[in-house]
Symmetry: C2
Subunit: 168 residues, 2 copies
Amino acid sequence: MIKTESNLEEKYQIHPIGKVHSPHTSLAGMPIQPKGCPDVFGEIIIYDEYVDGLQDLGGFSHIYLLYFFHQAKRTQLRVVPFMDTQERGVFATRSPLRPNHIGLSVVRLHEIDGNRLTVSGLDILDGTPLLDIKPYIDKFDFVSQSSSGWMQADEEEIRQKRSDSRFL
Amino acid sequence: MIKTESNLEEKYQIHPIGKVHSPHTSLAGMPIQPKGCPDVFGEIIIYDEYVDGLQDLGGFSHIYLLYFFHQAKRTQLRVVPFMDTQERGVFATRSPLRPNHIGLSVVRLHEIDGNRLTVSGLDILDGTPLLDIKPYIDKFDFVSQSSSGWMQADEEEIRQKRSDSRFL
């Protein structure tokens, strides 16, 4: 094992490009993933100065949203995920309590009207700062066969599962 | 269209959790996506203080890497993507010249030895600062049907395509 320490001087600044408007106004009781809420619609408002970058996005049915878990105030390297009862390394989970509080969701894109995107499958807290949008591109992103370690829940469990306050 | 301006005070700091070691030492001539380089192996070294978060990750065959496009020094809202000849909005592309220089790749995970991850399908520049690792979870992330707008290249074109210096 190579010993390496991080250089504490090495930091980057990021800033919101817009904001997520969703029906989820509290961290407890939320769906835990887009697959848990296919029928939840919401809007993304993009700040004026970035609207030009939305050109041609309308042709994509699915988009990645990168956002800042703005209510996560701490890092915890071992967490008990919502879909599990055992502690797991945070990088083996989607918990917000990671060293960099960046979240990732793939949502369905329905419409773009100026600076407003209508999306569904929204598992993101209302008011969340958006960092980036990337197109989901089947030929880049499709994974045909994979194994998912500890995560053995079935689709019904994912649909039923709701968050609690463990990651506050 | 709701007029909204960004709050320039709203910024977040992020920091590397490790570094990517890959055979790609120059931005020109690189594969443009993991699908363009399934046989390219490389290593991720995680900084000591975060190694504990890797627990249980070994059970996953694929992982998302979030990283900082450290050689991207500017933002450009319209770009000509590598796989296209026309200008597109940057959010409809994977170009590094986005407002927040954060990249996303899904790679195959082969082995974890202490703080060292061996991965393949690596389309990331050598020395790139790593921001996050998330497990690829089929039941969360699988998109069964999607449309990809302007991106109509076939798998052979993606495999053949190599980058040039347009995004420097």
